[in-house]
């Protein structure tokens, strides 16, 4: 069964839909990548899934239809690492992590998770009491991932996690995502514009153009297509 099953999703800002009739399936424990040029509607799709904007269509987690409020989505086990990182800049790194656990009541386990993610991301451990706004871009991206993981999601959504980061940091980030995926069997839906690294983790890839899914398949099938490779993989 799919961990996350999006079918017939439409959403936008105001009158016109920006994305129409999107269907994406994330099999349990696997990583799915969504490719698309700037403005294709990737972020809009993510925001619609998380209940930040109104949507139509069906979203199921483990076969169960989820509610449309952001808290319903988190409670259903879906967490987003937003584009731009969404850092709570005036709060400390530790408080950022605590906010990530906003809906949880298992205090002891929350402390364990803080321990865990600060050891997975040692740059955060050194800066727990520092204001998050003073972190570098790469550190803020790690914090955004850790904050989302504090909700113990079944499905982790990442919106352009590599944007604006140095290649070395992007590699470290994807290596960490791979570890989390294999250790916890956390399913992932990762949006990227330039997605060679993300493709290495993926079991399937979707291509978004002007608000629609125009193609889907295995990473290999995308790599074989010269045109797609040039446009989205950059070689």
């Amino acid at each position: 069964m799919s961990a996350l099953e999006i079918s017939g999703l439409s959403a936008g800002y105001g009158a016109a839909d920006v994305v129409r009739d999107i269907s994406i399936s994330v099999p349990a424990g696997e990583v799915v990548v969504v490719l698309g040029a700037n403005g294709a509607g990737k972020t809009t799709t993510m925001r619609a899934i998380c209940g930040l904007i109104d949507r139509r269509g069906s979203i199921r987690v483990d076969g169960v239809e989820i509610g449309s409020k952001p808290a319903d989505v988190v409670n259903a086990g879906v967490s987003l690492v937003p584009q731009g990182r969404g850092t709570l800049g005036t709060l400390t790194v530790l408080d950022n992590l605590r906010v990530g656990a906003a809906l949880r009541r298992d205090r002891a386990a929350i402390e364990e998770d803080i321990e865990r993610w600060t050891s997975v991301f040692p740059v955060l451990a050194e800066r727990v009491d520092q204001r998050a706004g003073t972190l570098s871009g790469g550190e803020q991206q790690m914090l955004a991932v850790a904050r989302a993981l504090m909700a113990r999601p079944r499905v982790l959504l990442c919106d352009e996690p590599s944007l604006g980061l140095a290649p070395r940091i992007v590699q470290h980030l994807f290596a960490t995502l791979r570890d989390i995926n294999s250790e916890d069997a956390t399913s992932m839906l990762i949006v990227e514009q330039n997605a060679e690294l993300a493709m290495d983790l993926a079991s399937s890839v979707y291509l978004l153009e002007v608000g629609r899914v125009v193609r889907s398949g295995t990473p290999a099938s995308f790599r074989e297509d010269t045109e797609l490779r040039r446009a989205y993989l950059g070689y």
Binding site: C50, V74, P82, G89, L91, V99, G137, M150
Partner: protein, 298 residues
């Protein structure tokens, strides 16, 4: 010396009221980034409500608490029903709605309770003999209660923001409402709560201020207090609790000294002092003494 101490204590007492209302302004500013121009009139409405309850035979302390509850409900409802729908559109629209609330609440008070002056009794014994001496100056009960109230509210708010999960969520929403929502924080509830608490604190300020106010309780009682509170909040940096308290005390003392020692300015010109201070702060130090500067990498 005795006169100086008397003026100093009067300044601290007025300053405590400014500080309380300034704390309400900070509360709103931190939750929605709005300077609530109607905060003083919310307090006025709540104080009149408390006065009316005293008239029905309720003990003063119970009426003050009921006034705080009314202030909470009124402010929370205003945030949800009037402020939030326009907030997304523009800051100017929010400002205009706040000004509309200012005159609307003032008119509602006049309509319901009339424009004549009322006598709001003090929450503590406040007779001519109910005082103790401090460096030769007499300190009365209604003076002490404002100091105690300010200390209590400051401590409770500090604990709320630094020690509780609710306070953490309030800080998160103030910082980045969308990120907070993405973790499941109910941002709508938090915003209403922020405004509601501000309404309750303002109501306390209004109920405590009126026994001290020379003209007792009337439709114009809260305006000079609001001006003082604005100066205090600005001086403190708008988003700092400690700043609001220290700002309030400074404004109160400066006003009392100017009124007492500068012959030309005199008692009738009290508000002018606060106004001049507001302009000075905005020109010289727009972030106030304690305002947090933007400290973020993009």
């Amino acid at each position: 010396m005795e006169l100086f101490v008397e003026r100093l204590l009067a300044g601290v007492t007025n300053g405590s009221i400014f500080a309380l209302l300034a704390l309400a302004l900070v509360m709103v500013y931190r939750s929605t980034g709005t300077l609530n121009f109607a905060q003083g009139e919310f307090a006025l409405f709540s104080a009149f409500f408390a006065w009316w309850l005293v008239g029905t035979g309720l003990p003063v302390w119970a009426a003050v608490i009921a006034g705080m509850v009314a202030g909470f409900v009124l402010c929370a409802a205003a945030e949800r029903a009037l402020i939030r729908p326009v907030q997304r559109k523009s800051e100017l629209a929010t400002l205009i709605v706040a000004l509309g609330l200012f005159s609307g609440l003032n008119a509602a008070v006049a309509l319901i309770w009339g424009t004549d002056t009322k006598v709001m009794p003090s929450i503590v014994p406040n007779g001519l003999e109910d005082y103790f001496e401090l460096f030769g100056a007499r300190v009365y009960g209604d003076t002490v209660i404002t100091w105690v109230a300010l200390a209590a509210v400051t401590i409770l708010m500090t604990l709320l923001f630094t020690k509780t999960e609710l306070g953490l969520h309030m800080r998160a929403v103030a910082d980045n409402a969308e990120s907070a929502a993405l973790t499941g924080v109910n941002t709508s509830r938090i915003l209403m709560l922020g405004w509601g608490l501000a309404g309750a604190i303002g109501a306390l300020a209004g109920s405590l201020a009126t026994p001290l106010a020379p003209e007792q309780l009337s439709v114009t009682t809260m305006f000079p207090i609001f001006i003082g509170a604005c100066a205090a909040a600005l001086l403190g940096g708008l988003d700092s609790l400690a700043g609001a308290v220290i700002g309030g005390l400074i404004i109160g003392v400066v006003e009392a000294m100017v009124t007492g020692y500068v012959p030309l300015v005199g008692g009738a010109m009290q508000q002018t002092t606060a106004m001049v201070l507001i302009v000075l702060i905005l020109v010289v130090r727009p972030n106030g003494l304690f305002g947090s500067k933007e400290l973020e990498r993009v």
